[in-house]
């Protein structure tokens, strides 16, 4: 009897082909979609990226942060500071912001990793508040009321408004694909194996020689850098920043958490489904303002209590489907064996 351990299934191979086709279609959007639709899709990609990163942090590394707005805001402010104060072209300022975010995350992690479990979560929020209040003190960037990206900086990005919108769209699409690809690669790497071992049993993982602190540190710094980069991209689209907008806990953390929880925490598919559900709800209910937010909160609580694996967890429990082949499966076995070794 021949056995083969593989990760991919026929479904995941099919999903890959379909995914490629969708990707080509999406990349061509500037030729078929209107400006408003493209803006919406760009926003969807950026939220998808934020959700994937938060999921990596909370769902895989067990670092439940409610302060990722610290890095979104930092990215936005880094973009404005680099372009306005240092004269760096906007396209260069975006990766530089990401680098800066990762650098800033190093001392931040050293500090807040001293807080355990749930207290870590609130510690991340304190950091975000410190950043927000700090940004309000920077009078060169408008202090508490914020500032706009100067017209010449915006104009220098691309020739004409259509070209700029297409560029922002492609950047958002590219970042989303890169973030998902990176998350996928991390989870299949040694680091990913360490994360899954940690998630299943921290004590056992430690006895296997996994350095918990370093593993979590790497994930924290990497997600912080990428979140900062996404923050810069978000404010390239928005063209205006203020401390309250940049460091908004609702916009950059609450929505992201709801997306991941509703879609399915701890899976790569979850944030994708969650993002689609979130935007479907938002586009139909956005006029209802705070009622919409209340509904979102209720849905998230119900999902957490009744179906903690989220929508994707429900789908997977029914069908065993896996679009991103991360878990290992044994191929070629013709008989199943029960736990006590008897042939079933």
């Amino acid at each position: 009897m021949s056995q083969r351990v593989t990760r991919s299934s026929r479904l995941s191979q099919g999903a890959a082909v379909l995914g490629l086709l969708v990707l080509i279609l999406l990349a061509a959007a500037p030729w078929w979609a209107g400006r408003a639709d493209m803006r919406l899709m760009g926003e969807i990609f950026l939220y998808l990226s934020l959700a994937t990163l938060w999921n990596l942090l909370a769902g895989y590394a067990g670092l439940v942060s409610v302060g990722q707005q610290a890095y979104v805001g930092l990215g936005g402010y880094a973009l404005f500071a680099l372009t306005i104060l240092a004269g760096v072209p906007a396209l260069w300022a975006i990766p530089l912001a990401g680098l800066l975010g990762a650098l800033v995350a190093v001392p931040v992690a050293a500090l807040i990793f001293r807080l355990r479990g749930a207290y870590f979560a609130i510690g991340t929020w304190v950091i975000a508040e410190v950043f927000r209040l700090g940004a309000a003190q920077v009078s060169a960037l408008g202090g508490g009321s914020g500032t706009s990206l100067p017209a010449d900086v915006v104009r220098a990005m691309a020739s004409g408004r259509d070209a700029r919108e297409a560029l922002a769209y492609w950047l958002a699409l590219g970042v989303a694909m890169a973030v998902i690809g990176l998350a996928f690669a991390i989870l299949r790497s040694r680091l990913g194996l360490a994360l899954m071992a940690l998630r299943d049993n921290e004590l056992a993982a430690r006895s296997l020689g996994i350095n918990i602190w370093r593993t979590k540190f790497i994930v924290y710094v990497a997600t912080a850098g990428l979140t900062t980069l996404i923050g810069a991209l978000i404010f390239v689209q928005k063209l205006r920043i203020s401390p309250d907008a940049g460091f908004s806990v609702n916009d950059w953390t609450a929505f992201v958490i709801f997306i991941v929880v509703i879609g399915g925490i701890g899976t790569l598919e979850g944030p994708i489904i969650g993002t689609l559900v979130f935007f479907a709800l938002r586009e139909t209910m956005a006029d209802m303002g705070s009622v919409y937010l209340i509904a979102l909160g209720v849905v998230a609580i119900v999902v957490m209590l009744r179906a903690p694996a989220g929508i994707w967890g429900l789908i997977r429990a029914r069908t065993g489907a896996e679009l991103f082949p991360i878990s290992h499966r044994v191929r070629g076995t013709t008989t199943k064996e029960t736990a006590d070794g008897k042939k079933a």
Binding site: V66, L115, Q137, V291, I301, P308
Partner: protein, 287 residues
């Protein structure tokens, strides 16, 4: 003189922060739950105080007689109805569910009361003050500080000298064995949350008398309470008071330097303390 005044005012403010912290500390101590909606529950209590004192035409401090039992009942119901179902080895469900509650409360208050700032009117006592040389101590801040100290002393006494406190400590030690003693964990947790929200009710009404409030300020109050808990050291109720006072003094000294630095200075004091003593100044319990 300004600096001494800042320290005294900061100390009085710290009493309020200790009240924000006491409820958080109690429920963390009994059931290891960190309630992200805690700040929004403080704000809810302030709005309850507003509605009741205006509807009944009574003084907000008198309204406490209703706000406290209402919040306690709400706490019991919340714990039995929702939060008990989130408790376990995994920290994600309680965090995410209370985060969801926070968003619901905040937006619910926004729907009902709008985003306009409100304030509880306490009448003449708001401006009356005791003069000590050049220091002017408002009667109201003094009264609130005394009440905070008294509430914290009562909590401490309850925890170590009553059957309820014994049940809290036993359940905190070993939930399964406490169950064998005939203590229903779900009920004990419900009582802990009821007590925590009763304290929160006082904190909310005091907050509303001291400053104006709107539905969005809950997150900030959660953070102040949390900072006081960590500065004081986990599991130490008197430490929580010390933590609140240190935070209050840090904030008022920051404001003395630059009015824009009040809250920032408090956060920096907190970060400095976790850098130097990550278990807080007077720890008693493992986090």
């Amino acid at each position: 003189m300004d600096w001494i005044n800042a320290i005294v005012q900061g100390t009085l403010l710290g009493g309020l922060y200790a009240l924000f912290a006491a409820g958080l500390s109690l429920i963390f101590g009994v059931m290891r739950l960190v309630n992200i909606a805690h700040g929004d529950l403080i704000v809810l209590a302030a709005y309850l105080g507003l509605t009741l004192s205006t509807a009944l035409g009574i003084h907000p401090l008198l309204a406490l007689g209703l706000v406290v039992p209402i919040m306690a009942l709400l706490g019991y119901a919340l714990q039995r109805g929702i939060l008990n179902h989130t408790l376990g080895d995994d920290i994600l469900p309680p965090l995410l569910v209370t985060f969801g509650l926070s968003v619901i409360l905040q937006n619910g208050l926004l729907e009902i009361y709008s985003a306009d700032p409100q304030k509880l009117q306490a009448g003449a006592i708001e401006t009356a003050s005791l003069r000590l040389g050049e220091l002017a101590l408002g009667y109201l801040p003094l009264l609130m500080f005394a009440a905070s100290v008294a509430i914290i002393a009562a909590l401490q006494w309850m925890f170590y000298h009553t059957a309820l406190g014994r049940a809290f400590r036993a359940t905190s030690d070993r939930q399964d064995v406490a169950q064998l003693m005939g203590l229903n964990r779900a009920h004990v947790f419900g009582l802990a949350m009821a007590l925590a929200l009763a304290v929160t009710a006082v904190a909310g009404v005091f907050l509303g008398i001291r400053t104006s409030f709107d539905p969005s300020i809950g997150g900030g109050r959660l953070i102040f309470g949390f900072e006081a808990v960590i500065i004081g050291g986990l599991g130490n109720i008197w430490g929580t008071l010390a933590g609140g006072v240190i935070l209050g003094i840090g904030q008022s000294l920051g404001a003395q330097i630059n009015p824009g630095w009040q809250v920032l200075a408090g956060h920096l004091v907190f970060l400095a303390i976790i850098a130097i003593r990550p278990r807080g100044l007077f720890p008693r319990m493992d986090g």
